[in-house]
Structure formats: C-alpha cells, structure tokens
C-alpha cells in the first residue's frame, strides 16, 4: 500500500458489554483517499468498533491514533474535533426540527444563529456534490433517502475528512445508491478517508478499495478488493467455507389460500401506502415480497393479520373446501376465532412480536393465554412449549425463565418463529425473517420456512436481500411505491429484472 497515509490507527481495541465481548483486541488502519469496506456478520462488532471512533462508546482497552497522534475520543464532540463524522444506520436527526437546524446542531459557530446563512452554505455543499435538500423542510416530512442526505450534508458541513457510513444503502433504491456511491468516490478523490459498513457483497465489490473483516469481535484480516471475491470474503466472515445456496423444494399441491383484491391503505397522515394491490397466495408455496424498504410491505402484512386499518379492497381466506372468509375489518382475535390459523413474524421482534422483559415461557403464552375458561393463566403448557422450542431450534439461552431481551438477535428470532409455527398455521407471514441474523441462524430459519411450505402452509416472505428472495421463493411479488409492479416466477427470474421492477412500475426502462 504505497504512498498511503493512515488517517486512523486503532490498536488493541477491546470493548465489553456486560459479559459479551463485542470487540477483542482489534487492530485497524484507515487510509486517506481510500474507501474501506468493513465486513462481518451481524454481531461481529463492526458498528461497535466504529462507534468508538465516533465517540458513542468508549473503549475498555486499547488506543486510537489520528494522524499518528494518540487521542482519547470521549464524546462525539471529541470525534468532530478530529474530523470524524459518522452516518448511523438509525438516523440521528431530530424530527421536529428542520434540515438546516439539524445540520447546525451542536456546532459552535461564532455569532448569532442565522438559519438563512446556514441554508446558503447547505445549498453550496449540495451544489458541489449534486444533492437535493430543502433546508427549511421538517425532518418528519422527509423520506428516508432525504433524511440520509441531510445526515451526509451534516457531516460535510462540519468539514469531516474521515467519514463512516453504517449500512447506508439499506434504505435506498438502486438509483439512489448509485448516486451515493458517486458522491463517495468524489470524496475519496478529494483525499477523504471513508469507511462503509455493509453486508452486500456486490456493493463491496463495486465501491471499495480495500476490505477489512471482523468475526466474533476480532479482526481476521484485510485485503485489496480487486484481489478477492465474494466467496472468499464470506468464508472469512463465517470462519469456514460456506455454501451460499438455499434449498427450494417444489411447491406442494398449491391451491389459493389468501386472495387479495384491490387493497388500498392510507397511513395516519393520509399518505397512500398500498394502492389497489391484488394477488393470491397459494398453499404449499412461498410467495416472496420484494421492494425497497417502506413501500408498503409492512402495511400489506399487517392488513392480512388484521392490524391495519384498510381503506378499501378485500382480503379473502379460502378454505380447502372452497369456503371464503373476509378478513378485512376483523382484529387478530376475531380472525383466530373464525378458525383461521394465521401466524405472523413481524419485522419488529421485540417491539411487536415478543415482550422483551418477559421470559420465554411468558412469551409463549402471548398467543395462547386466553385458552380455557379459567380466570387464571396456565403456565404448564407454555413452559413445555418453550422447552421444546429451545431444544428443537437450538436456542442458546440459560433457561426458559430468561427474559428474551437478554438473548441475541438470532435466538430471539428462533423463539418468535418457534412460537408462531407451533400453532400449526395455515398461513405464515414473515417480515425480514433473517434481518440481523448470522449466516447459520439464517439457514435455520430458511429450513423452518421450507418445512412449513412442505406441510402445505401458504408462506408470505417479505425480504430485503434479492439474492435470497430469488433462491428461496416460488413466486415473487414486487412492490413499488405501494403498487404491484409485477409478479415473477422465482425460478428463472433475474436480479436486474426484479431490481428494475422495484424502482419502476412494470420494470420498463425509459431508455
């Protein structure tokens, strides 16, 4: 790595959370004029490591050098002082403030606060890099990509020369991603040091100059991007060779189970979230839902589960003998009372699917506690169910009376999925079932879903990783801005084709 100067050197960085070792004696160098991709499975400590650079966490042990000077970064303010700016996965913006107010937040500029002056400076940054930001717009009125732009402008406004981006593309369309990458390349050519945390191999290959890999909190190696490939990087992340193939058994006797016609949903503010959506989900088949995040997936699943107020349309549950039940206007309880056995693995596991502070047994009860006429709850059955789930899905937990909040992401998901399939559902709705899971846990979940499919369950699988959708699903429904952009067969569909449909209705290009 000739004529590269290190902007940051991290030496022997160790960080513990309680008994969990998040970072274990990590060495990492970040060079000026280079884009570094930081890779690792979830829970491997990437974000923790970068949070120590940006002053959110403080290392338990180890040193950090900026431009060869030993420094202590005790707070984000210190980090700014050293020219480090981080764009977090969860945006750090104050919703009720405007873009300009968010951008100057925390800055000690001389003189009175003059938001018009700020707006002018923001405009000039935007013009330089090709962003589009309205400085006077309130953040709660912004789309995710607008919010991200504000975040980036915020960091640039502060004159950062070390930029850290934590999974910046998760919420962007391919076009927005491309725009972002162009900006990042500009900045690199400006001599800035850029770190990007991501999972997506093709982005690593397209953007970065060098990759550094963490596994279980330890640094396992770095290499030049052009000298490696996706398989090698994945193997290093997992620590052993992995096959990146997902099973796809043939559909079992598919019959229509859920028929959605003309479904239209508006959110609280009156924005159209689903627009005239129609499709059929068959039994014994996995129907994938693809789309950029926030274009109606959540509303779609919640409408079927009886959790979403629907403006118009119909959702019919079709029984084996052809009888039809309308699900709209019913809450989860009355849907279950009709004998429709519907399971739902929501996106927000601890905020919706489970109660974090309750133990495994009590969480198993969530679905079944009403059973029986007794005034009191029966804890025996839930406990044995909890024990069964722990055993069969290999949940790593001290016991069934441990609060689920203490479990890791993968184990939390196993508990949730275990409970949801325990009721022998006819329909299984899953949202981002493998988000935040390591590769092993992900494959466990794919297996479970495939088993349900083979048992004749109609599975609706909302996913974000197109590769997974294309390998796992029998059919894929592509949503674009709340409308159905098209439905494709999983076998034989191509990634560019689906990707295009995600961003343009029907996937037709203008060119």
């Amino acid at each position: 790595m000739e004529n590269k100067t290190a902007a940051v050197k991290m030496r022997n960085i160790t960080k513990r959370f309680g008994t969990v070792l998040a970072n274990d004696r990590v060495w990492l160098d970040i060079y000026k004029g280079e884009i570094l991709a930081l890779l690792g499975e979830n829970g491997s400590g990437k974000t923790t490591l970068m949070n120590m650079l940006s002053g959110i966490y403080f290392p338990d042990e180890g040193q950090i050098f900026i431009n060869d000077e030993k420094v202590m970064i005790r707070s984000p303010k210190d980090a700014f002082g050293y020219g480090i700016g981080m764009i977090h996965q969860h945006f750090k913006l104050v919703d009720v403030l405007t873009a300009a107010e968010n951008i100057v937040l925390g800055l000690k500029e001389p003189g009175r606060l003059n938001l018009d002056e700020v707006a002018r400076k923001v405009k000039s940054i935007c013009d330089a890099y090709g962003f589009d930001v309205d400085p006077y717009q309130k953040v709660y009125n912004m789309s995710v990509s607008q919010k991200q732009t504000v975040e980036i402008v915020k960091v640039l406004y502060r004159g950062a020369d070390i930029l850290i981006l934590d999974e910046p593309t998760a919420v962007l369309t391919p076009q927005e991603t491309e725009k972002l990458f162009a900006v990042l390349r500009n900045m690199r050519d400006d001599g800035k040091a850029i770190v990007i945390i991501t999972h997506k191999m093709h982005e690593v290959e397209a953007l970065s100059d060098r990759v550094a890999i963490l596994r279980h909190g330890q640094f396992v190696g770095d290499m030049l991007t052009r000298k490696t490939n996706a398989q090698e990087m994945t193997n290093m992340m997992v620590g052993r060779p992995v096959t990146l193939n997902i099973d796809r058994p043939d559909p079992v006797n598919p019959k229509p189970r859920i028929e959605v016609t003309g479904l239209t949903v508006r959110d609280m503010e009156g924005t159209l979230k689903l627009d005239n959506v129609s499709f059929t989900a068959n039994s014994g088949e996995i129907l994938g839902i693809a789309g950029i995040s926030g274009c109606g997936q959540k509303e779609l699943l919640e409408s079927i589960a009886g959790l979403q107020k629907v403006e118009s349309g119909s959702i019919c549950y079709v029984e084996d003998d052809g009888r039809r039940e309308e699900l709209i206007g019913k809450d989860p309880l009355s849907i279950a009372d009709m004998g429709v056995c519907l399971s739902f693995v929501p996106e927000d596991r601890l905020g919706m699917g489970l109660v974090g502070s309750m133990d495994l047994t009590d969480n198993m009860m969530l679905r079944s506690f009403r059973k029986g006429k007794s005034f009191f709850t029966d804890k025996k059955q839930p406990r044995s169910l909890a024990e069964q789930v722990v055993k069969e899905l290999e949940v790593n937990t001290p016991g069934v009376s441990t609060p689920v909040r203490r479990l890791s992401g993968g184990n939390v998901q196993k508990v949730l999925v275990g409970r949801e399939i325990a009721s022998a559902p006819m329909v299984l709705l899953t949202a981002y079932a493998v988000r935040g899971l390591d590769i092993n846990s992900s494959y466990t979940i794919y297996d479970l879903i495939n088993k349900q499919k083979q048992a004749g369950v109609a599975v609706v699988f909302v996913g974000e990783d197109l590769d997974v959708l294309l390998e796992l699903c029998d059919r894929i429904l592509v949503l674009c801005g709340g409308k159905v952009s098209g439905i494709v067969e999983g076998r034989g569909a191509s990634k560019p084709e689906v990707g295009m449909m995600m961003t343009r209705l029907g996937g037709k290009t203008n060119a």
């Binding site: 042990e61 809450d331 849907i335 309750m358 009590d362």
Partner: protein, 371 residues
C-alpha cells in the same frame, strides 16, 4: 488538533445485566442506613437534639404502646390499600397520580349514603350500598382519564392530577351542603347516635376489620397481577402496546378496565376511612396517600407482597416523625423532611443496582497494550 490529557482517569458507567437479589437488597439496606445517618445529622443540625434520642422517640412513636401499634397498622392498611390500587395502573405504564381524588370521591359516596340513607334502609343494606357506591365512584373517577387516554392518548398524569382538585372541590361543596351545624364549615361525626353505616367492629379492635380487608386484598392483588389472564394482559400492554395489539389484546379495553379497578380500590380506601374509622369527611381525609402510594408501589417494584414492607417503612417514618414533633414540640413537617431524605437515598440507590461503576486508568492500559 487539541491535546488530550491521556493520563486522566475516566469514570466509566455500564449497565448491569443482572445482580443477585441479596446484593440488590444489601445495596438498598446500605442506602437506608446512610439515609438514617444523614437524617441524624440533619436532626442535630436543625434542632440541636441528640439524634439517637430522636430515633428512639420515633420508634416509640410508632411501636411504643399497643394503641400506637394499632394506629400504625391502620395507617399501613390504608396506605397499602391505595398502593395496591395504583399498582395495576403503573404496571400498565399509566401514571395514575389521581389516587387522592379517587379516595375522596369514594369517601364522598360513602358519606352520601350514610347521611342520606342512614335512617331509611336497614344497616346491612346501607353498608352494601356504601361499598358499591364508593367503588363505583372511584372507578368512574379513574375511568374518565382512562377513556380519554385510550381514545386520544390524553396525558394521564396531568388529567388524573386535575381530577384530584375537582374531587377536592366537590367534597368542599358537599361539606358545606351537609355541614352540621349550619355555618360550622364541617360535617362532624356522621350518625353519631345511630352508628348507621359504621363498618362493624371486630371485638374491641377498632382497626382490625380494615387491616384484615387490606390483607385479603393484598393477596388477591398479588395473584391477580401474577397469575390471572387480566394481569398478564396488563403486563403486555405496559411493556408494548404494539405487541398487545399484535396478539389481539384490546388495548383500549384493558386500559379502561384496569383504571376502573385502580380507581375502584381507591374508592374502597375512601370507604375504609369514612365508614371504618373517621366517620366523617373532609377535603384532607386522604392525607396525600395518593402520592405516597406511588412511591410505595415503585419502591416495591410493584410487587404487592413487598409493598407491605415499603408502606410500613413510610408509615413508620411519618408516625415516628409525628411523635418527635409532639415530644420535642417541633413542627409536624419535620417528618416530611426526614421522609424526603430517606426517599432520595432509596431512589438514588437504584442506580447502583442497575449500573456498574468502574474507573479506567488509561496509563495502566497503555503499559499492557504495548507488551
């Protein structure tokens, strides 16, 4: 670049994952001991008295004679009753600080029955009506903010607080309407001659009935919260409304139902005060118990059985303090100061149960790091 002082020790705070129960209680015990030491210092500083003498006087004030023990028991019973009442609401994360008002309307309903029906219906029927009306009044008083919370997410802290004052004025209004004799500005003992509507006395023990009722209530509340389906629903709604909706719990119904139970039991406390011991009603009959109960419940981590202890602690403090104020001719508010100090220590001690403190010395690590 700024120069950083790298040799500076850093006080580092991290969250504990768990702490053995005995250690948690040891920390609390240390906090109470420290609080007592501070109380002693404050007492000496403010009054010039020997703190040990003051503590002894406090103890005597609370437990000194049989009569004092009975009064202590009665006070614990009423405070515990109110604490039990607010607990389901708090478990649901509904900040009901309207206990005062709910007690008052419960007492008012009781007094209304006693005054208006005292000589018209047989005594057993009167008492049944008192029980029903006091619980209903409390339930309505608690239910109104709950309905608004459920429908429009109205801020319940402020709403229940305002309901306290509405109740106070309502009582003030009726006190003047029913005043005996006219112009006295107070009601006096109701049915002094007939004892109509006075709760029966067990043997010669004036307070035993109240204590027994609350003891039974404590056990019921414990099982209601930990074992019943409704208790489970309360816990789920309190932890996450989204989860509750997801599993088909009707959140609005649970909020209103729980608050009506909460208010109803507060109303019952009003009944115990008016029908059981005081046999009159004033605007100050609840004596701040609606607020104190919040602390009792919180200190006990919403466990009804532990609340017996925490309410005993707070009643002991106030009884003891009232004793020393009589003995040493101090102002009765001195007790509030001591109570406040002890509460501050207990509140503060929770931090050391939830978090771990450690000192990082950067220099030492440097040595290690370079090896």
């Amino acid at each position: 670049m700024r120069k950083q002082n790298t040799a500076m020790p850093v006080l580092h705070i991290s969250k504990r994952t768990s702490l053995p129960l005995y250690k948690a209680w040891a920390i609390r015990a240390v906090a109470i001991l420290l609080a007592l030491v501070v109380c002693a210092v404050v007492t000496t500083a403010l009054t010039g008295l020997n703190p040990l003498g003051v503590f002894k006087a406090m103890f005597d004030g609370a437990f000194g004679t049989q009569r004092k023990i009975w009064i202590l028991g009665q006070n614990v019973a009423i405070l515990l009753c109110v604490s039990l009442a607010v607990t389901p609401a708090f478990k649901m994360r509904f900040w009901n600080i309207g206990g005062e008002g709910q007690i008052l309307v419960g007492g008012l309903a009781t007094a209304a029955c006693m005054i208006l029906l005292g000589d018209k219906v047989p005594n057993w029927l009167l008492i049944v009506m008192m029980i029903l009306s006091s619980c209903l009044a409390g339930a309505i008083w608690g239910g109104i903010p709950a309905i608004c919370k459920a429908k429009w997410n109205t801020n319940e802290t402020l709403f229940t607080l305002m309901m306290n004052y509405v109740a106070t004025q309502l009582v003030a209004f009726f006190v003047i309407v029913w005043e005996v004799p006219k112009g006295a500005g107070k009601i006096g003992i109701i049915n002094q001659d007939t004892h109509a509507g006075w709760l029966p006395q067990i043997g010669s023990y004036k307070y035993l009935l109240n204590i027994l009722i609350v003891a039974v209530l404590t056990v019921i509340m414990y099982f209601y919260l930990t074992r019943s389906k409704q208790g489970y629903e309360i816990a789920v709604v309190g932890e996450s409304e989204k989860t509750a909706r997801y599993v088909g719990i009707k959140v609005e119904k649970v909020i209103v139902r729980t608050m009506m139970i909460s208010g109803g039991i507060c109303g019952l406390a009003g009944l115990l005060l008016v029908g059981g011991t005081d046999h009159t009603i004033t605007t100050t009959i609840s004596g701040g118990r609606g607020f104190t109960a919040v602390m009792v419940a919180w200190l006990a981590k919403f466990n009804p059985l532990v609340m017996v202890l925490t309410s005993l602690l707070l009643v002991f403090l106030s009884r003891g303090a009232s004793e020393i104020t009589t003995i040493y001719a101090l102002n009765h508010s001195f007790g509030d100061i001591l109570t406040g100090i002890i509460l501050f220590f207990i509140i503060g001690s929770e931090f050391f149960i939830g978090y771990r403190l450690s000192f990082l010395k950067n220099e030492q690590k440097e040595g290690k790091g370079n090896v």
